[in-house]
Structure formats: C-alpha cells, structure tokens
C-alpha cells in the first residue's frame, strides 16, 4: 500500500497504520468542531446564568438539567432504534445549529428571564448528545486495538477545539459577547460536512459496515422496544455494563469531591478577586493544553505500555495519593497539583480508557447502554456527588443551605472549566470590582474550612478505594468480554475422539468381522472379548454375522430387521459371560494345558511358512487370555518380534493385557514401524506410569532413531501423568531442538487433557524466547531479501516452518497461561481477518505478563511484511543484549 503524505506526517506523531490516516483525521476534525463551539457556548451559558439568575439558583439548573436529560435519553433511545446513525447525527447537528441561532435571537430580548435557565439546559443537552454521538461513531469504526492507538489523537482534536473555543471567547467575548453564538452555530453547521465525509469514507472502505453505521435503515425486522427503562434494564442485567455504570458513577462522585477539595483550599489561600481570576486564568489555560498534549503524545503509549488494567488504575491511584496529601496537609500547592491531575487526566487518559471499555460490547447492548450511561448516569452521578457534599458537609455546619462557590463549577466535571470567562462575558466590568471584594463564605474562619476539606478528603479516599476496586473488577470483566468476541475454532481432536469413540471397542468389532473368514478360533476369541466387555449387543451380533457380500446387497434399513443370525455361535443362551470367562481362565491355567500347548506353540513358532501365520496369530491372541505368570506368556516375546504385522498386532494386544516388564523394549522398538506403531503405542499406554522411565531413556538418547524418539514422546503424552509431563519437559529443556515440535505437541496434549499437570514456568519461558527467536530468524530468511523472486514468494502466504514455529510459541504460552485463552487468540490470529487478529491481540494484551507481552504482541500485530521484518530484526537485536541470556 502506497503511503500518503498525511500518513507520513501523522506517523511521526502517533502510532498509525497505513489506511487509517483519513478516518483518524476526520474523527479528529469532527471532535474538534464539536468542542470548539461548545467551549464558546459553555462560558456564555455560565455567565448568563450566574449574573442574571445567580449562583444560589444553581441547584435548580442542575435539577432541571437532570430531568430534561432523562427525557432526552428516553427520546434518543427510541430514535436510535428507528433512524440510521447517519441521519440521527446530521439531524441532531442541524437541530443544534438552528436552536443556537434561535438562542442568539432570544438573548437580544433582555426581558426573557427564563432564557438563561433554558440556555443552561440546552447547552448541557448539546454536549451530552453530540459527545455521545461522537464516541458511538468511534465505537462503530474501530476495534479495541485500533482505538487504543488512535484514541489519544482524535480525543486531542476535541481538546484542541476546546483551546480554540476558549481563546476565541477570551479574544472577542469582551467586546462582542452575543456574536459568539453566531460563530458557534456556524461551527456546528460545519461539523455536518465532516460527519458526511466520515460516512462516505466508511461506505467506500467497507460497504458491509453500512449495516452497522446505518443500523435499522434497511432491516426488515420491526425495531425492538427501547427507551429509558429498557436501557436501564439492559445495564442491570449485564454484569459488565453494570460494573461500567458503577465505575462511571464513582468517577463523577470522586470528581465532585476533588473539585470541592481543591477549590476550597485555593479559596482559603486566595483573598482577592483579581488574584483568584489571575490564578484560574493561567490554570484553566494550562488545563486545556495539558490534556491535549497528553492525548496526542502519551495516551496511546501509556495504554500500550501498561495495558488496560494498569491504565484504569493510574488515575484513581494518583487522586488517592493527592487526596491523602490534602487530608493531612491542605495546602495551596497540593490543591493545584490535585486539580491539575484531575482535569488533565480525566479529560485525556481516563475518559479515553472508559470509552475503550465499550468497544468489545455487542452493538445492540452498547448503544443502549452508552446512551444511558453517558447521557444520563454521569449527570446523575454529579448531582449525587453534590448532594452528598451538601448532606455530609454543608448541612451539619451551617444553619442556612448556602451553596459553596466550589460547587458552582462542580457540574462541569467532564470538560476543562473556563468559567473565569463568565465574569468577562456577562459583565465586562466584572474585573473592575473593588480589590479585596468580600465573598459569601469569606467570613468563615479558615480553620473551619480546612476541617471541611479534611472531611471531604476522607470521603474522597473512601470513594476512590471503592473506585479502584470496581476498576479492577471491570478490567477483569473487560478481558472476559474481549474473549467472548473470539470463537474457539477447533480443539485438540485426540481429546474429542477419546470422548466420543471407544477406540478399543471399535477396533475389536473390525477385527471380529475381519477374523470371521480367516480363523474360527480368532473369531471365537474376539466374540469372547466382546462378551467380556459387555458389547455383544444384538446390533453387533447381526453385524458380525453377515457375510460381506450380503451386507453390500442389502439396504441399511432392512439389515437389522432380518431374523437371520448367520455364523454367530449362540453363546448367550447356553452360558453366562462370568461363567464363560471363569471356565476359560481355569482351563488355561491348568498345568496340563500349558504343557500340551507348549509343544504346539513351539512348533508354530518354528514354522516359517506362510500358513503358520494364522496359527501364530491365534497363539498370540490366546496368550493374552492367560495369566502373566503362565509359562506360555514367555513365548510372547518371540511373537512380538515376528515379521508379520498381523502376528505382531495380536502379540502387542496380549502384551498390553499381561504388562510384563520383559516386553517393554520390544514394544518401544515397535514404535519405529508405522504399521505397528499405533498398536505398540496403545500397549505401552496400558503400562501407565510404570513404563515412563524406560520411555524417558529412549527419548533422551540422541543416538536413537529420531522417529522412535518422536514415538516415545507421543506415548508419554497419552500416558499423561505428572511424571510423563516432567520427562517431556526435561527433554525440552535439555534437548538440541530436533524433536521440539513433537515434544511441545505432546505437552500440549497433556495440558489439554490433564489441566492439573504442572509445567516448570522458567523452562517454558526460556523455550518461548528461543522459539520466538527461531520464528524471527525464519521470517527474515523467508521475507528479508529484497529480490523479485523473494517478493513473488510472499504472495504464497506463510511457509509451513513459520506456521509450525508460531504454533509452538502459542502452545508453549498455553503451558503457563490459561490454555483456552491462548488457543482462542492463536486460532483467531490464524483466521487473519483484521478484527479477528486485533481482538486476539487484545486478549493476549490482557492475559500475558508485561515482559512476555512486549515480546509476543509486536510480532503478532496486523502489519505489512516489510514492517514485520523490521520488527523481527528489532526483536533479534533485543535478544542479543546481555540481559536476554535465556534466548
């Protein structure tokens, strides 16, 4: 893909992939053109209300806003289910443009005393609706991996818009305050153009996404009933959404408390109105610039470096630390520090991480929940926080309910406050008030206010701790939600076959059918085996009684309806299976039987003619019915070495029954031959742990045939005990790597079937690093060269040795992490669609430890071959550093 100039420019600032530059820029502009007018409207709103209505009436504004926003949420939820996303956003923008113009017109009439309250509510509805629409669009366009990289960038667009809005208000607000609304409406109108570009781009890029972006536009199904209660119930019934809602409530309650703490401390220190103005003037300007810089340059890096869990913890932990400081020492410097962290991180890192939490949720749930949480719940939480402050602090302290100044601004927690401009906008001469103007609570003794701050700090600490707890819960639930997005495509088939098929019985049925025309003795012995296993069902009886040509001729349906029994001896009518087994055992244990049969067996063994094969097979099978100590059992050793695979098969079967130590070397040698391998393997597995030592000796013997060593690894996997696992792990550590793939596969089988078996983490980690190193070397070997021939080869996909290496890395990871999670990630990386890879990596990001994450994830991400070659080279460079001794 050719890299555009825009890409080259943006890639210097942010971690962006080719093809993402246009949509990321559009979203940057979209957020910019929402926040730019909002930061003009917001100070205008505050100014009009505070100076026309007064701060004492602010609770009415909060309450009215909460009620109206509740109604808007209900209406919006219904509209969202019926109208396409595109139409809904454009309509909202048109509506806000027109109402902004209407407000400008109405403010010309100074007699309309209700206008400041109406405008206050309108401004809140505007930011709630437009902000939520923006983040929903981000959710539509990006998956978690993309959003993590880019959220800081387009989030920064909003903050830059805020800076421009605040600056513009400062520049022209003093002389032409009313013209600000005209500018704001023009800016909102311009954002319609950007939104259209986004939808056009999205349709062009991925037409199938129309279904998501233009939800319900063409679907024939009737829209489901949605509304305020429905959204509430959706959140209540979903654990993850409920946790998210609790986190949002706690975030805003704590923000209210922090705001109160910092402002009260500043209040104590600052006596003069113009000092206050000066301090907050610089402070607010800084508060807009700082989150912008954090968004653009740090958010992506922080999330990538620390992962979702730690990033979620970062903000509350900093607030916990600062709030604790204010609790013990409520000083000016600490107040400024906590306020700086609060505003700068809450508008950058914290808000963006919160937005990321929505991305893995299914669209149907997400849109309902997001509208409810972002539009209603955060306003509700702010109100709740303010109410708590009044109940716990204000009411017990004072006779009259006086709204503290600090609360005036506490409603605006989600954006950097620029209320200082309110003085300028509403009354341009506000700054000309006499120096040292007395404020409402200035008569209060500073010590009393300090005590209030300490009490609030105590509450802050308490709520922050709860917030940290719920952040932990939500981050765990986030990993589970990401996991749900990834299907398990396949599981180890050996386990599935073992669960669904009785392989020994199946083979016995086939052997019985096969032996019928060969030897009546073998046939009878197979029937006896079936009786012993209680498997001689009427269906099996009929099946093994028919001649092959009869079965071919008959229909499947009619076969079992036939009354013909054929050649099957009617044993069950004569004798019970217990008696039969007992009688056969007694006969075979008789000395005279052993004596008589000895000469027969020796003759059969001596006979090398083709005809003796049947006799040998019968003898081999019969020995399996004897006691292991019987003299004839010793003859099985000779039969095991017989050249005929048929004789070997019966000898191996009997060896598995008698389990004599003497047979083990022969059984292991039989692993070499592909024809006897499966039977030998089955026989050795029957020995269980008792044969692990012998197998281990062969496994670690470098002079032994490699196929035999691979066979022993497979047998140890089937035995599957801790001892077997330890042997395999030991060989993995000590071996030269020539049978690593087989060893890893064997260990993976044990891990899959016996999750209780433990593997040594240090060995596994070392092996993972070595395997990754091998992967990088192989990758560079295949794709590093720039020749045309090599380039042509690239179109063929990953070579098999790279596939094997990648699979080994994941199998190894499955030994020390939850195997199911790792396999889920691996299989979805193999599916190789953009979303499947991104979600798989997101799962790994939330599963692997930091050190492992930093090595594995960069190699798995979706990227161009050239970039992957670069990363492989960089990875190898890291391995060559002295602290990477293991690799």
């Amino acid at each position: 893909m050719a890299k555009s100039r825009l890409y080259r420019f943006l890639s210097r600032i942010i971690d962006i992939r080719p093809g993402e530059e246009i949509i990321a820029s559009f979203l940057f502009l979209y957020f910019f053109f929402i926040m730019f007018p909002y930061y003009i409207i917001k100070p205008f709103r505050d100014a009009k209300y505070l100076y026309v209505v007064g701060s004492r009436e602010l609770p009415y504004a909060y309450l009215s806003t909460a009620i109206v926003v509740g109604i808007v949420v209900a209406l919006y939820s219904r509209l969202q289910a019926r109208i396409s996303r595109h139409v809904l956003i454009i309509s909202s923008l048109v509506l806000f443009t027109l109402t902004c113009l209407l407000s400008w017109k109405l403010f010309q009439n100074t007699e309309l005393t209700w206008m400041p309250l109406a405008f206050w509510i309108w401004a809140n509805v505007l930011i709630v609706v437009l902000g939520t629409q923006f983040w929903i669009l981000v959710n539509d366009v990006f998956n978690p991996r993309e959003a993590k990289r880019l959220i800081g960038f387009f989030g920064g667009g909003g903050l830059l818009g805020g800076i421009f809005g605040a600056l513009l208000t400062g520049l022209i607000g003093k002389k032409h305050p009313d013209s600000l609304l005209l500018i704001a409406s023009g800016l909102i109108l311009f954002s319609i153009f950007i939104v259209n570009l986004i939808f056009i781009w999205q349709r062009k890029k991925n037409p199938s996404n129309d279904k998501v972006l233009d939800k319900n536009k063409e679907g024939g199904s009737k829209p489901k009933k949605v509304g305020f209660i429905d959204s509430f119930n959706t959140i209540r019934k979903n654990r993850y959404l409920a946790l998210l809602a609790v986190v949002v409530i706690l975030t805003f309650i704590v923000a209210t408390f922090i705001d109160y703490q910092s402002k009260t401390v500043i209040d104590i220190e600052v006596k003069r109105m113009d000092d206050y103005t000066r301090i907050f003037g610089y402070f607010h300007a800084g508060l807009l610039v700082l989150p912008f810089l954090i968004s653009i340059f740090m958010t992506g890096t922080i999330i990538k470096r620390f992962g979702m869990r730690l990033t979620l913890m970062l903000f509350p932990l900093i607030l916990l630390f600062c709030s604790g400081g204010i609790f013990f020492a409520p000083v000016f410097a600490l107040a400024i520090i906590i306020k700086t962290f609060d505003k700068s991180l809450s508008f950058s890192l914290n808000q963006f991480v919160r937005e990321l939490l929505y991305i893995p949720i299914s669209p149907e749930l997400k849109y309902k929940a997001k509208v409810f949480i972002d539009m209603f719940l955060n306003r509700f939480a702010k109100g709740l926080g303010a109410l708590m402050l009044m109940i716990f602090i204000v009411l017990p302290q004072f006779k009259g309910v006086e709204t503290p100044d600090a609360l005036i601004e506490s409603e605006a927690m989600d954006e950097p406050s620029v209320t200082v401009k309110a003085d300028v906008l509403a009354k341009p001469d506000a700054l000309k008030k006499p120096e040292g103007l007395q404020r409402q609570d200035e008569s209060e003794v500073p010590d009393q206010r300090k005590i209030r701050v300490m009490i609030v700090s105590g509450f802050s600490l308490f709520f922050i701790l709860i917030w940290v707890f719920f952040n932990l819960k939500v981050s765990k639930e986030y990993a589970r939600t990401v996991k749900k997005k990834l299907e398990i495509k396949w599981d180890r088939a050996d386990r599935m076959v073992a669960e669904k098929v009785d392989v020994d019985y199946t083979k016995l049925v086939f052997d019985t059918i096969e032996s019928r025309n060969r030897s009546s003795i073998l046939y009878a012995m197979h029937i006896f085996d079936l009786i012993k296993r209680d498997k001689l069902t009427p269906e099996v009886k009929k099946l093994i009684s028919y001649k092959s040509d009869e079965v071919k001729a008959s229909s499947l349906g009619g076969l079992f309806e036939s009354g013909e029994i054929g050649l099957l001896p009617e044993t069950d009518d004569i004798i019970s299976e217990d008696v039969l087994e007992k009688e056969i055992g007694e006969i075979m244990s008789l000395d005279v039987y052993q004596e008589v049969m000895k000469s027969y067996v020796e003759n059969a063994l001596r006979d090398e003619s083709m005809e003796s094969e049947i006799a040998k097979m019968e003898v081999a099978k019969a020995i399996g019915l004897m006691e292991s100590e019987s003299p004839l059992a010793l003859k099985l050793g000779d039969l095991l070495w017989d050249e005929s695979p048929e004789v070997s098969k019966y000898a191996l079967e009997s060896a598995a029954k008698l389990r004599k130590k003497e047979y083990v070397p022969a059984l292991i040698q039989k692993l070499l031959n592909p024809i006897t391998r499966e039977d030998a393997s089955g026989a050795l597995v029957k020995y269980g742990d008792g044969v692990v030592g012998a197998l281990s000796d062969y496994l670690s013997d470098r002079d032994e045939d490699i196929e035999l060593r691979k066979g022993t690894a497979s047998v140890l996997a089937r035995i599957g005990t801790q001892d077997a696992g330890d042997c395999l792990m030991w060989e993995l550590e000590e071996g030269k790597g020539e049978i690593d793939t087989e060893l890893i596969d064997a260990l993976d089988r044990i891990r899959s079937e016996k999750p209780g078996v433990q593997f040594r983490e240090d060995i596994v980690e070392t092996k993972i690093l070595r395997e990754i190193k091998k992967y990088c070397q192989t990758f560079i070997k295949h794709f590093g060269a720039k020749s045309k021939r090599k380039k042509a080869e690239r179109t063929k996909g990953l070579p098999e040795d790279l596939n094997v290496s990648l699979m080994n890395v994941f199998k190894l990871l499955g030994f020390i992490y939850l195997r199911e999670d790792i396999m889920r990630a691996y299989q979805n990386i193999k599916v190789a669609t953009k979303d499947s890879v991104d979600y798989a990596i997101e799962l790994l990001d939330n599963t692997l430890k930091k050190e492992m994450r930093e090595i594995v994830i960069p190699l798995m991400e979706d990227m161009a071959l050239e970039e992957r070659v670069k990363r492989c080279r960089s990875c190898l460079k890291n391995f060559s550093r002295p602290n990477r001794k293991n690799a």
């Binding site: 199946t506 059918i513 028919y546 070579p799």
Partner: protein, 115 residues
C-alpha cells in the same frame, strides 16, 4: 492397497483402492500421506472410499490418526463414497459421531467450502 492423491480447490483428495489392512501396507501409510500434505500447508483432506472394500482395525487407526492430525492443525478430514457395510460398522461403533461421511464427492467438496 493403492492411494492416489489429487487436488481440487485447495482440497486434497485421496482415492483409495483395495482394503486398508496392516497386511496390505506397502511403503507408506495413509496417515503418513496425510501428514505429508499437512506439512506442505494443506488443511482440507477428503478420503474417497469408493473402491475400498473393507478395512481392519489398523485401517480404523489410520483414519482416526489422520483425522486427529488434520484437526489439531485446524484442518478438516472427511470421507466420501463409503460402502454400506462400512458405513454400518462405522455407525455401530459410533465413528459417525466423529467422522463426516458423504455419499457424494461433490457434496463433500462443497461442505469444505461452506465452512
């Protein structure tokens, strides 16, 4: 027993002729042939049993081992045109619970593409 491999739309088809018995194996087993295809990156295998008269327990082991090797790599192994008798034995022994068996080769090939 004779096994010939051909390829159709990235699906490897093994045409098997004769009986899959341990006594009939010449130089290479069915499982080894399947593994070779897996090693070369193929993941979809179809065993054409049109000319298979019968199999013994070794044959069952070979089919199951091939099935396991293929599935463990995320591939699919299916069987087509099996005789009625074999199908009956597969049913009684519940092998049909694991193996996907088709009457017709084209239907079997389509089933790979649908997944």
């Amino acid at each position: 027993m004779e096994i010939n491999a051909r390829e159709k739309e990235d699906i490897v088809i093994f045409d098997i002729e004769g009986e899959i018995r341990r006594s009939d194996v010449s130089d290479i087993t069915l499982h080894q042939l399947v593994k070779d295809q897996l090693d070369s990156g193929k993941r979809n295998i179809l065993l054409n049993f049109q000319n298979v008269e019968f199999i013994d327990s070794f044959g069952v082991g070979e089919i199951l081992a091939s099935y396991i090797s293929t599935n463990n790599l995320g591939g699919k192994l299916k069987i087509a045109k099996i005789s009625k008798k074999l199908y009956l034995v597969f049913q009684v022994t519940m092998l049909t619970k694991v193996l996907e068996i088709f009457d017709d080769e084209e239907v079997a090939l389509d089933s790979f593409n649908k997944e």
